[in-house]
């Protein structure tokens, strides 16, 4: 195949002079590009090239700017500019001219213009907007070539937000009589689907039409879209399985026109696309898989030719057969196929064979056994890519018996590999295997040491975290724990005595932590000696300040005895004047704690019990202290944001650090945290008044979903294997290996192809037996899913689960990571369509001005039953107002209702509450929820039999803006009549409950002026309105808001879906808008009246609902959480 182009051009300049050469025949010596290229090839240095190109660009710049340049010249200039750009020289001056050329040129010039645009600009370039009009024009052109060009450039690059402008035109092209246009239109839509799936949602049925197009090319193009859509939602397209199978059958059967053949294989691209679609559809679905078996068999049979393209199809077939519901005779054929790949002398096929093996080996470990000798050969292959792929395969078949050999091979590879991406990946795998299957302590610690040294600072941060977690939690046996820790200490001491300067920072941090915690286990070790070793780390130039913090923490835990204290003093003296505030603080801590050994023992108890300690996050034990301080005249606690605000108002230079935006959970300050240097500083910042914290407390935890938990299987080991037993594994027993070999050979008569010298062969056999140990014992091939996991050595105790999660989090959590995680969770999930949960239309319906009965019942119902405490309990009525009185009032309320102003009638309103009464007057009030405000309606009822004069009513509030609606307050009130006043209320600043106070003065004919005072309390919840946002909008808003609160709420657990049920209660009672519910998480939005949004993120965690609120308005989250609590309590 490579004879296609077997002309090598070594000496370019000499060839150029030979006009007889076919290549150079196409060059016109007068062409300017030709002379430019020739000029460049004649140069000798980079510097000369630079000068030449600069000169060239300068002349191009001059010419493109000249008004006399024709479009045809422009085209030629553009080609030269493209060439210069390809050489790496920027020519941004020409971009605008490229667009102009695409706009104004004739067809051919246009084409070069489009090409230049697509090479120069990318999707975000601002000049691209200028292209939109040209594309629009060309899409409407009658010239097919122009339409094609426009479609091509659209799929290459088009500003995302301009898609709607051209979408109708592209859609139209799906009906174009020319198949080439239809095909390009489908591909352009596919591209739109990839970059903006929402915008092509409405044309899904047109995709179906494309799938049924009479031209196979258009049909093929539509499969790209289908593959994508089926990947996202396989359930939705099961009905198409039959069609796809039929198409594949026709293709395999050679029913397509010859044009589609590629090296006499019918439409291989189409076949592979279909196989991929089928494997997605048939996954875990026996009945759908049933339909495919026949055609898969046919495909395997037909793909018999020895050509790359048939192997490509075979590979895809095998993958499909192993993905869908298994069928034994197909599996057999597929396995044979894999064998052909693996044993092929062609290296590309061998590579694919290894990949296929990796893919299937979990279902069929015997297959690896059959090819063990090939695998061994590949392990020593000079090509690193093959080696890497083999390790991937071995990773899949690792068990407790072969772990040492496999990990050794992996580490060997890591030492020679230079690629960061590879290192990160492989180091993670080694750590995973080591934790899962470690045969003994020494091996484990040594392997992890290598992991830390090689992985250095590029590895995933959860590797050191879970390692420390494992050490600190221990296993089931105390003795075993002690041994492991002691071994770690020993190994680290010797490392520090060597050359610690070469160790990566992360490793040093691990070392300091372990020494700080466990060096006391080594009895013959003086703590002063350890301190000195640690102090040496502080003096090293390349230690980062984070590492130094860890070292300081370790030293603080260790300093004791006169020698130790003197080392500590010396160090802390040096660093107490450090420029780094964190280090300075650590140094101070060290200094103080080293002097006061009693305090030190209290703060940092040695070998402390690491059981989870219930933390009283409300700090109620400080109540006594607080009240004492308050009595002594101390100022009451103010939350940080309030303090900040006041500071800002006072225009005083703020000396406080910026408040932590980190979502620290209070409960993460469990006892284990004392070991983490990063957390101590935070917990010191958490001081507070218990009363304020009482709403905030709870056991809010950080988001843990993204944190990889490597050995999370619960339960106890029935009996721990003694160390000696596992030691035997390291030396493969020669007795066993021939047996195994036999087993492999007898079942499938395949012998290794290469036979090197005998000794070498033996070595390989031995390696094989140690590598594939344990595989043969799992002889029953389990077709579905993974084989049973081997018992793990390091098994975490179930009860310490919580603590461990926290420790890992406190070590790694950073605000951005958490934010991102959350954001991703929110943004990239599909809507779970639960009909009565999220649909926004429903909620809109509730709030529309005409107020459906739904809202009303929700509001008035609760009022009637007295089950809404926010309304009833807090309605403090100034005049004494016993409950019995209220009951008597009820009939009166009903008739008062008729006085409600007509424009408010349709809206949701609260129950009418009496405010105050005397002999002549009785006042009642209710509030009505309008979209943009709350209307307070005061009913003044003259119950005396004389008219009242000069009535004057005043309403005011500290927390609310009050404005009178409608006419000025009534002057005169006839006997036994009712007057109504309306006040529109908006919130000045959020409080849990807000109060309106008022006074009415009036004159009776006989008596002089009388006054009555009243007050009316409103819950903040009546100002809450649903906020209609989409998930995307929510995501951006979330990041923009700064005031946040976290809290745990009770979950309504008697329903099938507790989350949905709970959120529904909140929606009904507080009118929150449920944006989306995704699995165990839900996002909810509301706003305080119109302009103060508040977002809520809820997550079901350990039987409670962890909510996290954010808002731009301070205090709003706190108030809202209070109302949520109340709403759920009285549910």
């Amino acid at each position: 195949m490579s004879d296609v182009v077997e002309k090598t051009l070594t000496a370019l300049p000499s060839l150029l002079s030979l006009d007889s050469q076919p290549g150079s025949a196409k060059l016109s010596s007068t062409s300017k590009l030709g002379s430019l290229i020739r000029g460049i090839t004649e140069l000798t240095s980079k510097h000369e090239e630079e000068k030449l190109i600069q000169r060239e660009l300068l002349s191009i710049k001059e010419q493109v700017a000249s008004p006399n340049t024709t479009m045809r010249q422009m085209k030629e200039l553009m080609v030269r500019t493209i060439y210069c750009e390809m050489l790496g020289y920027e020519a941004s001056f020409s971009y605008i001219h490229a667009i102009k050329l695409a706009q104004q040129g004739s067809v051919l010039e246009k084409r070069v213009g489009y090409l230049a645009v697509s090479l120069f600009l990318n999707e975000s370039h601002e000049l691209l907007l200028l292209l939109v009009n040209t594309v629009l024009k060309d899409l409407q052109s009658t010239n097919l070539i122009e339409v094609c060009m426009a479609l091509t450039v659209v799929s290459q690059m088009f500003p995302k937000d301009m898609i709607p402008a051209i979408l109708p035109l592209v859609e139209e092209k799906l009906n174009h009589p020319k198949e080439i246009i239809r095909r390009k239109a489908v591909l352009a839509l596919y591209k739109f689907y990839l970059i903006a799936p929402n915008q092509v949602q409405h044309i899904h049925n047109k995709f179906r039409k494309a799938l049924c197009d009479k031209d196979p090319g258009v049909m093929t193009a539509s499969l790209h879209i289908y593959l994508q859509m089926i990947q996202e939602n396989p359930e939705g397209y099961k009905d198409l399985t039959g069609s796809f199978v039929t198409i594949l059958k026709q293709v395999v059967g050679g029913k397509l026109p010859m044009d589609f053949n590629y090296h006499s294989v019918p439409a291989p691209w189409l076949q592979i696309q279909l196989l991929r679609i089928l494997s997605l559809l048939g996954k875990n679905d026996p009945s759908t898989s049933e339909i495919m078996y026949e055609v898969l068999d046919e495909s395997l049979r037909r793909a018999g030719m020895n050509h790359n393209i048939t192997y490509a199809i075979l590979y895809e077939c095998v993958k499909c057969i192993y993905t869908i519901h298994p069928k034994s005779d197909l599996l057999e054929k597929a396995a044979k196929c894999i064998g052909n790949f693996v044993l092929s002398p062609k290296i590309n096929l061998k590579y694919l064979g290894l990949k296929a093996l990796t893919y299937v080996v979990q279902q069929d470990p015997k297959l690896a056994l059959q090819h063990q000798m090939t695998i061994i050969e590949c392990l020593d292959h000079p090509d690193l890519i093959i080696k890497r792929e083999t390790l991937e395969l071995l990773f899949r078949i690792t068990n407790a018996q072969n772990v040492t050999v496999i990990v050794e091979k992996m580490l060997e590879f890591l030492r020679i590999s230079k690629d960061d991406h590879n290192t990160i990946d492989l180091v993670g795998k080694v750590a995973e295997l080591a934790e899962k299957y470690a045969p003994d302590n020494e091996w484990f610690i040594e392997t992890m040491n290598t992991v830390f040294s090689i992985g250095g600072d590029v590895m995933q941060p959860d590797i050191p975290n879970s390692f420390l977690k494992l050490l600190s939690e221990g296993f089931d046996s105390v003795e075993e724990d002690r041994k492991l820790r002691l071994f770690a200490v020993n190994s680290y001491i010797s490392l520090l005595q060597g050359e610690p300067g070469k160790l990566p920072q992360r490793f040093l941090q691990v070392i300091s932590w372990v020494l700080g915690e466990y060096s006391y286990l080594k009895e013959d070790l003086e703590s002063a000696a350890v301190l000195r070793l640690l102090a040496k780390l502080l003096d090293m130039k390349n230690s980062s300040s984070e590492t130094k913090s860890w070292v300081f923490m370790a030293m603080t835990k260790l300093c004791e005895g006169t020698a130790g204290v003197s080392v500590a003093q010396e160090v802390s003296e040096t660093y107490s004047s450090s420029m780094d505030t964190v280090l300075r603080q650590r140094a101070q801590e060290l200094e103080h704690l080293s002097q006061d050994s009693e305090l030190c023992a209290k703060v940092l108890p040695r070998g402390g019990d690491r059981e989870h300690v219930e933390v009283d996050s409300s700090l109620s034990f400080l109540d006594g202290f607080v009240s004492e301080a308050l009595a002594a005249g101390a100022a009451p606690y103010k939350p940080p944001h309030q303090r900040q605000e006041e500071l800002a108002q006072a225009k005083v230079l703020s000396l406080e650090p910026y408040s932590l935006s980190l979502p620290i959970s209070m409960s993460s300050c469990s006892i284990t945290d004392r070991q983490s240097p990063t957390l101590l500083s935070m917990s010191s910042g958490l001081s507070g008044d218990s009363t304020d914290l009482s709403h905030k407390g709870g056991s809010t935890t950080l988001k843990l979903d993204g944190v990889k938990r490597v050995w999370g299987r619960e339960g106890y080991l029935s009996q721990k294997e003694p160390v000696e037993e596992s030691a035997q594994v390291e030396v493969p027993s020669p007795v066993r290996s021939p047996n195994q070999q036999e087993e492999g050979d007898s079942s499938h008569s395949q012998t290794p192809t290469v036979t090197p010298t005998l000794g070498c062969e033996q070595e390989k056999q031995q390696l094989a037996s140690s590598l594939f140990l344990g595989l043969s014992t799992q002889s029953p091939v389990c077709l579905m899913g993974k084989s049973e996991p081997a018992p793990q050595r390091f098994r975490r105790k179930a009860k310490s689960l919580n603590t461990s999660e926290q420790i890992s989090n406190s070590l790694i959590s950073s605000p951005s990571a958490v934010d991102n995680l959350l954001c991703n969770n929110l943004l990239d999930s599909s809507i779970t369509s639960e009909p009565d949960l999220s649909p926004p239309e429903r909620t809109t319906e509730l709030t529309t001005a005409n107020g459906t009965c739904n809202t009303e019942t929700a509001l008035t119902d609760s009022g009637m039953k007295g089950s809404n405490p926010a309304l009833n309990r807090d309605n403090s009525v100034d005049a004494t107002d016993p409950p019995s009185h209220e009951d008597m009032d009820r009939p009166k309320n009903v008739c008062l209702m008729s006085h409600l102003p007509a424009e408010l009638c349709g809206l949701a309103h609260s129950e009418i509450t009496p405010l105050c009464t005397n002999q002549s007057l009785s006042l009642s009030a209710c509030h009505v929820q309008k979209e943009d405000s709350l209307v307070l309606v005061v009913f003044i009822n003259n119950c005396s039999d004389s008219d009242i004069q000069q009535t004057r009513i005043q309403v005011d509030s500290e927390d609310l803006e009050v404005s009178c609606v409608g006419d000025s307050p009534v002057e005169e009130l006839r006997s036994l009549s009712v007057a109504v006043c309306q006040y529109s209320l908006t919130v000045k600043r959020p409080l849990v409950n807000v109060e309106v106070v008022g006074m009415i003065s009036y004159q009776l004919p006989v008596v002089t002026t009388q006054e009555l005072q009243f007050s009316y309390k409103l819950p903040l919840s009546s100002f809450i309105r649903p906020l209609m946002v989409s998930t995307e909008e929510y995501g951006t808003m979330w990041l923009a808001f700064s005031n946040d609160t976290k809290q745990n709420l009770t979950l309504i657990s008697d329903e099938q879906e507790p989350l949905a049920a709970t959120l529904n209660v909140l929606r009904k009672k507080l009118q929150l808008h449920i944006v989306e519910i995704i699995g165990m998480e839900g996002i909810v939005a509301c706003s305080l009246l119109q302009d103060q949004p508040c977002l809520m993120h809820c997550r079901v965690h350990a039987g409670t609902l962890a909510v996290w609120l954010r808002s731009p308005t301070p205090d709003l989250p706190d108030c809202l959480i209070y109302h949520c609590q109340r709403a759920l309590q009285c549910h």
Binding site: K26, M86, G88, V107, K184, L352, I385
Partner: protein
């Protein structure tokens, strides 16, 4: 889906670049540098596939020119190899016994052929005849419209 296609010479000189997903100039420069060093360092008898970040690189050498195609991880490597081969065949058919010089001096033609063959990172047309027909159709146009004196473009 394909991400990018690069053509470069044995000396590491870029001859053609096609990016199917948006990328900043800096990224492009880095990728070009990485690709040329990685691919040129490969031993002759090793396999044609490489890993780069989360992408798979499929490369093949034709005479003095390296074709280097990056695809997403789940793609079929052998198929990608055939994509390269089909492109070479198309070039060969158009230029008639194509060589590196043809591509250097007529690189915009090479781009046009590529645009007929691939679109938006997917195969658009696998038939040699059809691709050539559409290229020739526009070339014909060129000749009648611009009345080129000599057949070659320059």
């Amino acid at each position: 889906m394909m991400r990018f296609l690069l053509l470069f010479s044995r000396q590491g000189k870029l001859r053609l670049q096609k990016w199917f997903t948006p990328m900043s100039d800096r990224e492009k420069k880095k990728i070009i540098r990485d690709m040329t060093t990685m691919v040129l360092a490969r031993q002759p008898r090793s396999c044609n596939f490489l890993h780069w970040k989360d992408l798979k690189i499929i490369y093949k050498r034709y005479a003095s020119l390296y074709f280097c195609l990056a695809v997403e991880n789940q793609e079929n490597e052998l198929l990608a190899l055939e994509v390269i081969h089909r492109y070479v065949e198309l070039l060969d058919k158009y230029f008639g016994n194509v060589c590196e010089l043809d591509i250097i001096f007529n690189f915009e033609k090479a781009y046009f052929i590529l645009d007929e063959f691939l679109m938006g990172g997917e195969i658009q047309e696998t038939s040699k005849q059809i691709v050539n027909r559409s290229i020739e159709a526009s070339d014909m146009l060129q000749e009648t419209m611009e009345e080129y004196m000599s057949k070659p473009a320059f």
